[in-house]
Symmetry: C2
Subunit: 319 residues, 2 copies
DNA sequence: CTGTTAGCGCCTTCAT
DNA sequence: ATGAAGGCGCTAACAG
């Protein structure tokens, strides 16, 4: 009972399969009466056309892929939320892939979704990605691609990102305005442009106020290691009086270390961070955050992707 | 260049399509030499069989769906993480669908993924779901289904959940052991068994210690409304001295209200909650949490689903 | 407005 | 160990 198909439906109605197919998709060249009859019976059977057959025939999957480093992170989960909303409205399905910041995994994923499984890809690149071949290959295959947040500047595809330099500049200036003089920066490892941009904003702000960096620490995915590095920084001579963290988890690592070594925030150390943690205000003390409009970024990136998909579907000889 | 297919590959090799197909999937009846030749050329072209064609042919999508209320919630994002790990190892793809706790949306989603798009479904039911017809219909269509966390007891499918009664009991007892006498409970709205079970654990603990409920407040999805209800509770006569929140967001709402009405936690009010927020320890004051092993729940539920899928693929006449 | 025919790309008999 | 043929379910092109 689960699976009736178009042909059977057509037989039951004494119609041809094509008429039924057209009727279900609301074609203009089918009489209203027939449409109604068809839809009634289809509903009764809970009929849905087999998606693989129809994708095969149309070379269209009605599916997009979202490739992100991790999902256990408010920024990315809010993005997903935005993407899903837009996709749903478009009648699209969303495949989710997590790279865990691993280049090899990212490559695998992109390889596996190349062949028609999806109509387009949204990606926020892993921070261990150095070689962009896998992305260029998607691009040159003509598969719609959109970057968000962690973009690759060398590849000319649409992208959505916030002005990280500006945001970092302001975040750093906020610390300066509170009287901080020795401001350190905790940055993501890797060569992503976003990492550089956040650092640049920080450096620009320092320079503009005649200050010099009190340390720039490259952190990675492992909390343990990060905490060790942060502890060294905070236990060293000339302890910073402020920290500007490029990503949420580094701010959390900082809080943890401060609790451990009993360093008072914000008395002895002020902390600001990029973060989309809604509960940041409930921290002890409240964490100052640079919040990105993640939900909107997701929506916008998805909308952008659909624009590319639709353009491609309409025109363009891809040869 | 993006899309070469099996037939072209075969031509280029002077082999038949079937041989190539078999070679690529490592069939035993193909000579090693041929396999090597085929794989070499396939790699060179970055060839991947068209998934729609092969899904159509095999009636197998190599895809599962995860249907959850929301993703912006550490519990569910950790679950997703576990699911994705298991799926990836199995070579499966993961479709994500968000219900936003809306019954109509849940129904739509399940309807849309019924017809072969996925080989199985994992779901944590929305709290506005009352009628289970849409789930029963999936079940009786023979589409593998697994519940996790928010299960439906009336439908006999595998599920993964923690012992909510026990956990609630202990959480409540924790408050009692701190000397609390007037403990209120913030619960999710709806008729989900999990809601009842968390309440029951709370009630059991009170009874065991000769206490009576200081209020059971049904909360919903809207933060604003929740805060109003909580404020009323905390401003009323006979203010509770503790709150046991059934879900994370209600604990956060409670903290927000306390900050607003300047009620000191934990001095005047103790709070404990189900929560997977890793930063809960950094709250002011630290939030006592009942943490569920969300990542493992995801892994386990996925493993369970694959078990059902594999069993179905092997045997069973589904008529 | 409706029907007939053909084929999307793959995999699976059934031959050889 | 390999090839030929057919069909999964659908939709698009071409009648009529």
């Amino acid at each position: 009972m689960g699976s009736i198909n178009l042909k059977q439906l057509a037989q039951e109605l004494n119609l041809s399969a094509s008429t039924v197919s057209r009727a279900l998709r609301g074609s203009h060249e089918i009489s209203q009466e027939t449409k109604d009859r068809v839809k009634a019976l289809a509903d009764k059977h809970g009929f849905q056309p087999n998606p693989h057959a129809s994708s095969l025939r149309q070379s269209k999957s009605n599916t997009i892929a979202v490739v992100i480093p991790e999902i256990e992170n408010n920024f990315f989960s809010q993005v997903m939320n935005g993407v899903e909303d837009v996709a749903r409205k478009k009648g699209y399905h969303v495949l989710i892939y997590l790279t865990h910041e691993a280049f090899a995994r990212e490559k695998d994923i992109l390889h596996v979704i190349r062949n028609g499984r999806v109509d387009g890809i949204m990606i926020s690149v892993s921070n261990t990605t150095t070689d962009m071949q896998h992305l260029e290959s998607i691009y040159s295959a003509g598969l719609p691609l959109v970057f968000f947040d962690r973009i690759v500047e060398s590849i000319d595809v649409p992208h959505v990102s916030t002005d990280d330099i500006e945001a970092s500049y302001r975040g750093t200036e906020h610390l300066i305005s509170k009287g901080c003089k020795r401001i350190a920066h905790l940055s993501m490892s890797g060569l992503l442009s976003i990492t550089g941009r956040r650092r640049d904003g920080y450096l620009d702000a320092l320079k503009a106020h005649g200050l010099t960096p009190a340390g720039i620490i490259e952190c990675g995915t492992d909390d343990q290691t990060n905490r060790i590095k942060i502890r060294e920084l905070l236990n060293g001579a000339d302890r910073p009086d402020a920290i500007f963290a490029a990503v949420e988890k580094l701010a959390i690592n900082t809080y943890e270390v401060c609790r451990e070594i009993d360093l008072e925030i914000p008395g002895k150390l002020k902390v600001i961070s990029f973060s989309n943690l809604s509960a940041a205000a409930l921290f002890n003390p409240p964490l100052s955050t640079i919040v990105q409009p993640a939900y909107d970024i997701g929506k916008e990136a998805a909308a952008l992707l659909f624009k590319v998909i639709e353009k491609k579907t309409r025109g363009e000889t891809p040869e």
